[in-house]
Subunit: 490 residues, 2 copies
Amino acid sequence: MAKQKKAPRPKAVTPKGFRDYFGVEVTQRTEMLRTIAEVYHQYGFDALESSAVETVEALGKFLPDVDRPNEGVFAWQDEDDAWMALRYDLTAPLARVYAQHRNDLPTPYRRYAMGPVWRNEKPGPGRYRQFYQCDADTVGAPSVAADAEICAMLSDTLERVGIPHGDYLVRVNNRKVLNGVLETMGLDDDTQRDAVLRTIDKFDKVGESGVRELLGKGRLDASGAYIDGVGLSDDQAGPVLAFLTSKGADAAKTLANLRDAIGSSAIGAAGVDELETMATLLDAQGYGPDRIDIDPSVVRGLGYYTGPVYEAELTFEILDEKGRKRQFGSVSGGGRYDDLVKRFTGQEVPATGVSIGVDRLLAALREKGRMSEVAQGPVVVTVMDRARMADYQAMVAELRNAGIRAEVYLGNPKNFGNQLKYADKRQSPVAVIEGGDEKDAGVVQIKDLVLGAKIAENATLEEWKDRPSQYEVPRDQLVSKVREILDSQA
Amino acid sequence: MAKQKKAPRPKAVTPKGFRDYFGVEVTQRTEMLRTIAEVYHQYGFDALESSAVETVEALGKFLPDVDRPNEGVFAWQDEDDAWMALRYDLTAPLARVYAQHRNDLPTPYRRYAMGPVWRNEKPGPGRYRQFYQCDADTVGAPSVAADAEICAMLSDTLERVGIPHGDYLVRVNNRKVLNGVLETMGLDDDTQRDAVLRTIDKFDKVGESGVRELLGKGRLDASGAYIDGVGLSDDQAGPVLAFLTSKGADAAKTLANLRDAIGSSAIGAAGVDELETMATLLDAQGYGPDRIDIDPSVVRGLGYYTGPVYEAELTFEILDEKGRKRQFGSVSGGGRYDDLVKRFTGQEVPATGVSIGVDRLLAALREKGRMSEVAQGPVVVTVMDRARMADYQAMVAELRNAGIRAEVYLGNPKNFGNQLKYADKRQSPVAVIEGGDEKDAGVVQIKDLVLGAKIAENATLEEWKDRPSQYEVPRDQLVSKVREILDSQA
């Protein structure tokens, strides 16, 4: 028989657009999700974990109009040829779950969900095809008290994970106010309305004068290209600009400005009333405008939501990749949406909810130095005599029983240098050594690796003499000495 | 223009073989994973979260030999036509990650991973296409000290999540001993060896006499069908049976029996030595045979692993679906495997690891009544006057600030009965009521819903008089009274 051709070795690579998370990256995120879940739970929200897989039909936005619905989602056909896909967010699955289980679920239904979602999009720097979302939504509550509650919860959550009062702001706007403005302008033409909505979306980037130009004749953008405008007269553009710039010194002033901007529109008045109610409710709970503020310049998501819109921004400055100061920016957004459940049941079900960008929030805390990027490694018990492994295992058992993270070196113990290199790679704070001499004398050597590294780097001879980084203690003082060193490093 | 045909509504259904998890199902699992992670971390294991998606090439077992690799995994082609799939376990991704990052990772590399995995298999009762795994593995440690460590960690983990000493047993076997047995039997024929391995796998089910028959001429099974045997003589079958039944009164006796069973086989002797070393190491750390036991009747996975094999069983009895007593059985298994990383790099890398079935463990704790199946709902503040929502929100804020889970009713408040029905559905312990009269008098009504339900069910008139379930207290005693009631319910 001919020798079979050897199959080539598979490549060990993460699929394009995906990544692996190691050590503290994982545990810090887990810890943050836990803290957020605690706040959500305190507010009466219940956990929901839907499956990662949904029918493409249920996801809706990506209905297959071609052979394969590979636009935006990862999809495949099951054994019955039905298209399945990985969820792209946590809101579409909530709508499906609520429609499916609505007779068993309480109304209103407050639920939170956290987990990965998947997007079949072109990956880029910092843009992955799998990332975490962390959502809280209230389904079936028509009153803006539900929106106010979520804003309060968002504020609490940010403070609980370590963003102090003053370093963030939850800003609130309302789509109905914008609808009132459009009504006042007399824009009946859908195409023109859409153009105005798209222009408003650029307010963040181009500011008041930019929006004015874009609503009018057009604008020369930074790259030198001329962008055609919507073609409104200055008079027509007025209410939009009044709306976007209506932020006053306090909520009362802002609300008064908004009432001016919407003219006699009923829907606009309803929107301003909603903002006023939210401000009153939040004030009664102690959330002043230094934490949650009415701010009509919030435009993100204004096209998607149907009522209140809210966004949490971190207001402290960081240095961007080019060394320029800039605000950290948005870490969370949400608002009220009405028709997600209707797709399934035909009945309109009011819903409002928020999504927190956990990874951005982690990045912010790291940026501010409020989260260590370095894990505390385990105490490493080295192996001087392979035959006495049982002794070393007993040591780590003692340390662990005292609540100290510890492990025995399990590689080839022949080269002691490798063991210390290993301890270094593991970011171990302490190494324990017990050779034959120590064993006979009933002692152990305990090496303070953090101090050792410091001394090696920059200590004077005096300091080196004064503060030795290695100690010999009786075997029965192993735990107490290690504890003492760990405490001194803290 | 003709009226556009309305698209049919999508169906709100969980995809076949998947399910949704609600409330305590989610939080209890999260809590258990957290506890397990704490133990793993204490032992020096680092977290790893690889992506849910892998190249089919890296997953290996399911290489596409047809157009679509839909056997066992959920797979699709990416934009470059390469096949991608959802991971089916956490071991294959570990091998890929270790091969990819081996120069940056410490050696040995202790890692833990927890998360969902996906199987494209026929779903059945209690068998889902997405479920959790919770693994710990040590890569790059050839010594059985690594296996002993994982057994000790498994024992600690079970006790920490609430399975007490005496209700579980970690049983250890070794594939090399079986290889020694096969060598002694002189089975050179691979087909016959495989047949013997398959027969051994049935030891759990058919016992000693069953295996004896199946190794010989054959056996009439419970359904009346005759199963052909391997065709060995009684003499040839002897060592296998001696191996399977070699469990003695203590480890020394078991090891002596095994040495008899393997005759002069060198590989067999190595296996028995490994078991002896593990027993010694575990004993030195205080893990006696009442927690971790050498037991050659453990056969699960013996065909897959290359050295030590271990399994954790819960030893208490439960009633099965037919009301018969049976042992709860296995909740975890693992062992040593050598060639997973080799697929990628060509170099053999020793590895050993364990996987805990979190959902089975949760089921066991619920079965034993050690885990409440009922969540503590939030305190519900009812809405008697829609215009005073701010007052009610202020109440829940006070309760939450005191650490009490609380919410205001956000549905339509018109029908008060609906509010109490809602509180019931939410499993609320306490309802708070403040109507106009109460507001004027500066008091609130606080209803003990747990006591109320008890009284409604079976109290005598006397008891009902003695223990009213509704209290009127001054508004400023809201928090203290609610706290008092919650404490009395605990």
